[in-house]
Symmetry: C2
Subunit: 595 residues, 2 copies
C-alpha cells in the first residue's frame, strides 16, 4: 500500500547541476566518479532499494525482531537476511570505503544519495549496515594496521557489521557518567565488563560476526569524559590473522519494545569480561568515537530526509486519487462525484511543506556530505580546513533539522490521509512512528543545538558559520543582476544579515549569563536551518534556470516561492523567542512546576 | 511507570476563581452546583480516574481489543468491563444529563473537567462513554418522546452506550457522498443498508445494547448533504416499551489496527436491513448530527487537553529525577554525579510549553463548556444567543488547537525522556500515538479551520469573534490601571487588534479569490488559538493575584511570561504565512508535484 520510487532525477539535479560535483570529484582524485558512473550508481541504487528493500518495510514493522532469551539470539524479520545478502552481492557495503580495504572509494556525497534511498525504502533495515559505516570511519582513522586488516576488511565486504556501544542505563547524553570497565590482560587485550543499552544492531542474524566499538574506562582512568577509552569487542573472538574463534563473553540481554523501527534490533548488551582491543590512545576514546558519531549524525539526518520523501510520495499519490469535496473556486472534475484532495489549498500547503523541506534538505545533506569528500581528499590544506569547519557546523543542522522536519512532514503526510492515515494498512503511521526516533538517537535535538551554538558557533568563533555566510554573500553578489532571481536573493541576503546579527546578540548576552546558551540553542538551530534552506532553494532555482529544463525551472521556482512565503517566516517566531532571553525559562522554581 | 494525578487544584482555580462559575450556576438554575458540590465532584472524579482508569491505560494499549470474526463480537482489554461497571455505579454517565431522564443535571462545564480526567487517565477507555454524551444530546434535542424514553434513559444510566455512524469507505470529511440507504417499512420503521467505517465503540462488551445513530438516505432523498437523514439503529431490537428483542441485522465486520488508542474499538459496521427509527425530520439528519458533532468536537478537544497534562506530569517527574549533565551556570547538585534534567534551559522550554499550553487550554475548554450551560439554561434569550455564537466560534478552536497542541506536547514530553521515551515501558510513546488520532477524528484540523474561518467568521459575519474580542477589550479596559498586569494587558490588547485587522484583510482578499479561504484557514486557526490563550493567561494571572494565594500568583505569572515571550510570537509566522496569500499554494500544477 505504501510504495517508493527513488528520486533519481532530483538527486542527479542536486549533485550534477546544483552542487556541480563533477569537476570537484576530478579535482580531489575521485576521477572514477564521472557523470556516467554517478548516474549508473543512482539508477542501480534505485532498482535495489525500490525492488528489494521497500517491499520489506511494512512486513518488517509488523513482524518485528524476535529475541530468544535462552540463546540471546535475535532473528530479523522475514526477508531481511536475503535482502542483506543481495546488498552485499551488489557491493553496496564498500561503496565509499577505501580501495585498500576492498571498497570502491566512491565519494561520500554519492554514498549519501544511496543512503537516502535505503532510509526511504526501509529505515529499520538500513540500521544494520548504518553503523558499519561509522565503524569503518573509526577503524580507518584510529585503528592499528592489524585491526584494520582483521576488522575493517570484513566490514567493508559486508561480511560483518559494526556497532557503537555508548549508552548505559544511567547515562545517555552525559557520557562522562559511564561505568563500563576495561581490565588490562597479560596478553595485551582487555576484559570488558558492563552493560550497554539502546545498542542498534547489537545482535542480529545477518552476518557471522559483529564488531562492537565499546566505550569503557581503564582502571586508572580520570573521572568524566577524559577517562574514556574505545575498544573493539567482536561478538566472535578473532585472532590477529582473522580466524574466528569461540564466542566472546558478551550477550544480548533483551531487545526493546519500541514505538517504531520494530525491525531494527535495539539491544541491551551485557559484556561479561569480553575480550577487547584498545583502539587509539588510552583515555582518548571520545575523540575516536566522535569520528563515528559525526558520520552517524549525518546518517541519521539523512534518515529524516528519506522519511520525508517517502511520506510525501505517498501523500501525493493519495491526494491525487482520493475524491473529497469540491474546490473552493468551483468544481475541477465535474465528471466525478467530488474533486481530488489536491485541489484544496490546505492539502497543498501540507504537500508543499513536505516537498519544500524534503528537496531543500537533500541539497543541504549532500552539500554536507561533499565536505566529507573535500576534507578527506582535497589536495589543498586550506580547502580541507574549510571543509572540516563547514562540516562541523553543518552536521548538527543536518542531524537535527532534517529529523525534526521528518517528524513534521510524516505528520502532514499522514494528515492528508485522514482516518486512513491512522490505520496500519496504508503505512503512513509507520513512517510517523519510525521518524520519532530520529530526533533522539545519536544525540537529541537539544544536544545538537548545544553542539551548534555552544561549540561550533561560540567556542570555535563561528568559523563554519562564516564560511556558510560567505557562500551566501558570494552567491548573492554574483546574482545581483539576475532579475529572475531577485525575489529570492533579496530576502536571502537579508536573512543572512539577520542571522549574523542574531548570532552576535546571543554572543553578547552569553557573556552575562551562561544559561542564555541553552535558552537560545534550539530556536537558533531551527533559525539556522531555515536560512540554510533558503540559500539552497535559491541555488536550486538558479541551477534549474541554467539547466534549460523549463518544466524543472518552473517547478523549482514555484516550490521556492512557497518556501520563502510560507516556511521561511518561521524564523520570525524563532528570533522573537531567542530575543526574549533566558529569564522566562529559568524563573519558575523547580518545585513550582507541579500544578 | 506512567502515573496520573488529576489537577484538581487547577480545575478549582479555573472554575471558581477565573471563570467564577458559582454565581453563574446560581443564575441559570444550576443551584445544586455549589462550591461544595463542585469540589466534591472533582475530588471524587480524581479518585475514580486515578485509581480505576489510569492503571488500565498501558495494559489496555498493550492488549488491545480482540475481534472474533466468527461472531462479530469485540472483547475489550482486561479490566475495562469492570471499570465501566464502577463508572456506572458512581453515577458518572448521567452527571450532566437532565433529571427527567435520570441524570444529575450538573453543569457541562463541571462535566468537562471530569471529562479531562477520564481522557488523561485512559483516553481509549474514555471513547466508550464519549459518544453516549453526543447521543444524549441528539436524542434530547431531536428525539420523539418514546425515543427519549426507550433509548435515552438507558444511556443516561450507563446501561447502554451510543455511537455516531457517519463515515463510509469513500466519504470522510465529505458527507454529501454517503450511500447508506434507509428503506421505509410498512410499520413505520426503516431498513438500513450500508457499510460504515471508523465507528468508535461500534461494538464492545461493556453494555448489553448499543444505540447507533446512523446517517443514511431515504429513497427519494435529494443528492448531497441535503438528502441525509438520521436514524436510531440499536444493536438489539428494542420495542417501544423498551423490552429487548432479537439482535438487529447489523454486525461488526472487523476492527482497525491503528497507530494508537488500541483499546478503543474502531469498527467497520455492516447494516444489512437493520431496523431503524427516523430521528428528527427527513433529510434534516445533518442538523441533528451536528448537535452530536459539536458536543463530540469539544470532547475531542478535551482529549487533547488530558493528554497534554498527563504527558507533562510524567515528563516533569522524569526531569526532576533523571541526572544528566551539569547546569550551564555551574553545578546545582554537587552532591550528585550530575544535575537533574530540569536545570537545563531547553528541558524547561519543553516542560513550560506543555504547562503553558495545557493550563491555558483548560481555561479555554472550560469557558467553551460554560457556553453550553448558558445556551441551555440561561433565562435570558440574549445571553443564550450570545453563548450560542461564542460556542460556535470556540468549538473549532478548542477541537483543533488542543489536539494539535497535544501532538506537540506529547512530542516534547517524550523528548525529555530521550531514548527511554521511545520504548513502551515508560508509557510516553503511547501518549504520542494516542494523541495522533485527535487531530483527525470528528473533523480534521483542516475541516475545523474551514468551519472557523469560512462558516463562523465569514458566513456568520464574525458574531462569535466579536463577542470574544469584546471580552478581551472589556477585560483590558478594566485592567488599565493594574500595574501588576500591564506587561500582559498591553500585548494582549495589541494582539486582539491585530487579530481583528488580519480577519478583515482575509475577508477582503476572499472577495477576489475564494481559494484564499483554504489558504488562510489553518494558519488563522492557530493564530486565533494563540491569541485566545493569551487572553486566558492574562485572566489567570489576574485571578491568581486576586486569590491571595501568593505562590499560585507567582507560578501563574511566571508561566504567563513564558507564554507571552516564547509561545505567542508564533503568531508572527502564522500572520506572515496568511498575508502571503493563496498564490504560492495554488501555482504548482498538479502534475508538477511529482519529482
Amino acid at each position: 500500500m505504501n510504495s517508493y520510487k527513488a528520486p533519481v532525477k532530483d538527486m542527479r539535479f542536486a549533485l550534477l547541476d546544483v552542487l556541480d560535483v563533477e569537476p570537484i570529484y576530478q579535482r580531489i582524485g575521485a576521477e572514477q566518479a564521472t557523470r556516467d558512473i554517478i548516474e549508473a550508481v543512482l539508477e542501480e541504487g534505485a532498482r535495489f532499494n525500490e525492488s528489494v528493500l521497500a517491499p520489506l518495510n511494512q512486513s518488517g514493522d509488523q513482524e518485528g525482531c524476535h529475541f530468544d532469551k535462552a540463546t540471546g539470539k535475535v532473528t530479523t524479520p522475514k526477508g531481511f537476511k536475503e535482502a542483506y545478502a543481495q546488498f552485499v552481492e551488489g557491493g553496496w557495503p564498500g561503496l565509499t570505503a577505501p580501495e585498500q580495504f576492498g571498497g570502491q572509494h566512491l565519494p561520500e556525497s554519492l554514498g549519501a544519495a544511496i543512503k537516502e534511498m535505503i532510509d526511504a525504502a526501509n529505515l529499520a533495515w538500513g540500521n544494520y549496515p548504518l553503523l558499519s559505516h561509522g565503524a569503518t570511519e573509526a577503524l580507518k582513522h584510529h585503528g592499528e594496521d592489524w585491526q584494520q586488516e582483521v576488522f575493517l576488511k570484513p566490514i567493508v565486504e559486508g561480511r560483518w557489521t559494526g556497532t557503537m556501544c555508548l549508552t548505559e542505563p544511567h547515562c545517555g547524553s552525559d557520557l562522562g557518567l559511564l561505568k563500563t570497565r576495561a581490565e588490562p590482560q597479560a596478553d595485551g587485550t582487555y576484559a570488558i565488563h558492563g552493560t550497554k543499552i539502546f545498542i542498534t544492531a547489537g545482535e542480529h542474524d545477518l552476518t557471522e560476526n559483529i564488531v562492537h566499538l565499546v566505550l569503557a574506562r581503564l582502571p586508572d582512568a580520570p573521572p568524566g569524559t577524559k577517562g574514556i577509552s574505545l575498544f573493539i569487542v567482536p561478538k566472535i573472538r578473532t585472532a590477529k590473522d582473522g580466524t574466528l574463534g569461540e564466542p566472546n563473553a558478551l550477550r544480548c540481554g533483551s531487545i526493546e519494545h519500541k514505538m517504531g523501527i520494530h525491525a531494527s534490533a535495539t539491544c541491551v548488551m551485557n559484556f561479561d569480561g569480553a575480550e577487547g582491543y584498545l583502539i587509539g590512545q588510552p583515555n582518548k576514546g571520545l575523540n575516536a568515537m566522535f569520528t563515528m558519531m559525526n558520520t552517524a549524525r549525518l546518517a541519521v539526518g539523512i534518515q529524516g530526509l528519506g522519511l520525508i520523501d517517502r511520506a510525501y510520495q505517498n501523500a501525493l499519490a493519495y491526494s491525487r486519487d482520493r475524491l473529497q469535496m469540491r474546490s473552493l473556486s468551483g468544481s475541477k472534475r465535474p465528471d466525478k462525484p467530488a474533486d481530488p484532495l489536491i485541489v484544496h489549498p490546505d492539502i497543498r500547503r501540507m504537500l508543499l511543506t513536505c516537498k519544500a523541506l524534503g528537496d531543500g534538505s537533500r541539497l543541504l545533506a549532500l552539500h554536507a556530505a561533499l565536505q566529507v569528500d573535500l576534507l578527506e581528499r582535497s589536495p589543498d590544506e586550506a580547502e580541507r580546513k574549510k571543509a572540516d569547519e563547514l562540516l562541523g557546523f553543518l552536521t548538527p543542522i543536518v542531524k537535527a533539522c532534517l529529523t525534526e522536519w521528518s517528524v513534521e512532514c510524516t505528520y502532514h503526510a499522514l494528515q492528508c490521509f485522514g482516518g486512513h492515515g491512522y490505520v496500519q494498512e496504508w503505512g503512513m503511521e509507520q513512517l510517523a512512528r519510525d521518524a520519532r526516533i530520529t530526533t533522539i538517537y545519536e544525540g537529541t535535538t537539544g544536544i545538537q543545538a548545544l553542539d551548534l551554538l555552544g561549540r561550533k558557533v561560540i567556542q570555535l568563533q563561528g568559523a563554519g558559520l562564516k564560511h556558510f555566510l560567505g557562500l551566501i554573500v558570494e552567491f548573492c553578489s554574483a546574482q545581483t543582476k539576475n532579475a529572475e532571481l531577485v525575489e529570492f536573493v533579496a530576502p536571502l541576503a537579508q536573512a543572512a544579515q539577520d542571522w549574523q546579527q542574531l548570532t552576535m546578540d546571543i554572543g553578547k548576552r552569553l557573556m552575562e549569563n551562561p544559561e542564555e546558551l541553552g535558552a537560545a540553542s534550539v530556536d537558533y538551530l531551527f533559525y539556522s536551518g531555515y536560512v540554510t534552506l533558503a540559500y539552497w532553494w535559491t541555488r536550486a532555482v538558479e541551477a534549474a534556470d541554467r539547466s534549460g529544463d523549463k518544466a524543472l525551472a518552473e517547478q523549482k521556482r514555484a516550490v521556492a516561492r512557497f518556501y520563502f512565503q510560507r516556511i521561511l517566516p518561521r524564523t520570525l517566531s524563532h528570533a522573537s523567542a531567542i530575543r526574549s532571553g533566558a529569564a522566562s525559562l529559568m524563573a519558575l522554581p523547580e518545585e513550582a512546576f507541579a500544578a
